[in-house]
């Protein structure tokens, strides 16, 4: 066996390294029972529950269409925020970020890998949840598919930025508690429940939250075939603010 250096020790190409990390993170997520529960099982249960019941009121439009848009928003939050915040928080605790940062992957490769992994897992979620919704009669508005994909991408970017901010600044146990608490609270702040169903000022506030922008944006696109420009702007602002804050305050070690 040889662990002695080759003539010219060299890294794999940047693309190979980033793809390898995205694949590694995706596989780790999809093999992780708790992550699967949050990413697939709970959104699927939410879809079934909302479809089979009359409560809560979801607004104008077919109930299955409204419910599916909300559940797809929930799937994005589960993967880009809850899953990534918890995984990154504990990776930071265990020194994984420092170790991988010292390999040819580096810090930029870690971030690129997370982006790739979120994209891949969200893709799997959209496919599986979309198929389940189709079994219940989901008919998305065809003209809304492109703006829906844009909304998903912007929503994932905003929530991933928030996940990095949380995971990089708070202890792992607190990340676990806060990420799960946020997941529950956001259900009612625009993700499953449209913001216009909320009372008074809360509706306005929720509309400015990334949860409201993502949920309402997906409903506008998939149910009404609209291009939700206002919601995109909200998501872009959250991405910029949270991303800048994460870049400034993220600690690579606990």
């Amino acid at each position: 066996m040889s662990t002695s250096p080759s003539e010219v020790a060299a890294p794999a190409s940047r693309t190979s390294r980033w793809l390898a990390q995205a694949r590694f993170e995706t596989a780790t997520t999809l093999r992780h029972g708790e992550q699967l529960l949050v990413a697939i099982v709970l959104p699927a249960l939410a879809l079934v529950g909302l479809t089979l019941s009359d409560s809560p009121e979801l607004g104008a439009g077919r109930r299955i269409d409204l419910a599916t848009a909300g559940v797809l928003a929930l799937a994005v939050v589960s993967t880009a925020f809850t899953g990534q915040a918890i995984a990154t928080g504990f990776d930071r605790r265990h020194g994984v970020l420092r170790f991988l940062g010292a390999t040819p992957l580096g810090r930029e490769g870690l971030i690129a890998g997370k982006l790739g992994a979120v994209a891949l897992v969200v893709g799997v979620q959209l496919l599986l949840l979309g198929l389940l919704a189709a079994c219940f009669g989901w008919h998305p508005e065809p003209s809304g598919l492109v703006p829906a994909l844009v909304t998903v991408a912007l929503g994932a970017a905003a929530f991933l930025s928030l996940a990095m901010l949380l995971a990089g600044t708070v202890r792992a146990e607190a990340v676990l508690a806060l990420a799960n608490l946020a997941w529950v609270l956001l259900l009612g702040l625009g993700i499953l429940l449209p913001t216009d169903r909320l009372p008074g000022a809360l509706a306005s506030i929720a509309g400015l939250l990334p949860s409201g922008a993502l949920g309402d944006g997906l409903r506008a696109a998939l149910v009404h075939g609209q291009w939700p420009l206002a919601q995109w702007l909200v998501l872009l602002v959250w991405t910029g603010v949270a991303g800048s804050a994460a870049a400034r305050w993220f600690h690579w070690s606990d």
Binding site: M1, T3, A9, A12, T28, F99, G109
Partner: protein, 234 residues
Amino acid sequence: MSAVEVVGLRRDVGAVRAVDDASWSAQSGAVTAVLGPNGAGKTTTMECLEGLQRPTAGTARVLGVDPWRAPAEHRARIGVMLQDGGLPVSTTARRLLRHVARLHRFPADVTTLMTRLDLERVGDRSVRRLSGGERQRVALAAALVGRPEVAFLDEPTAGLDPHARLEVWDLVRETAQSAAVVVTTHSFEEAERLADHVVIMNLGRVVAEGSLAEVCDGRSLEERYFSLTRGVRR
């Protein structure tokens, strides 16, 4: 040129001066052992050399490069084993080592490396379920899988049983035939059996550096260590 050069290195962590005007070097083809009590600045120095901490003053050079924010081309030439392992716990040892190998263009063979470190039988077990000694060996394999020109191994045999420790020593010696290996340790036996070059640190400063014979100066390493560090044997 030395593979590793530390010149007047200082590293302040908050109000604490973790490393204070430290200077030493390590050569390719040799094992350098860095000893010192807890808090002596060994790990901080290693992390400056690994590019994980930025020196407050002075210089750290590895293969002639400033490791802080060094590019991937430099990091591919370096192997790092952190004191706390740095292993993701939700994957298996085999998947992790294959992943790290994929980050390099000319990696060592993962299966052979695992066999050498007696990891084959636990290779498909989650890292979370490995014993401390098994995790140590996975971390060592991860540091060596890129076939580094310089390997920084922070306490590589901590928690290992005597058989595993001998195997690790053999592998470290073998790696050092063509690389610079820097090892931190609390074990006098490990330093005496492995090291061509010894650095002793205390309270952030280098208090001795040289070959084992030069540092010991006719006494045992243990005696010399205690006389140079706390002054009294605790």
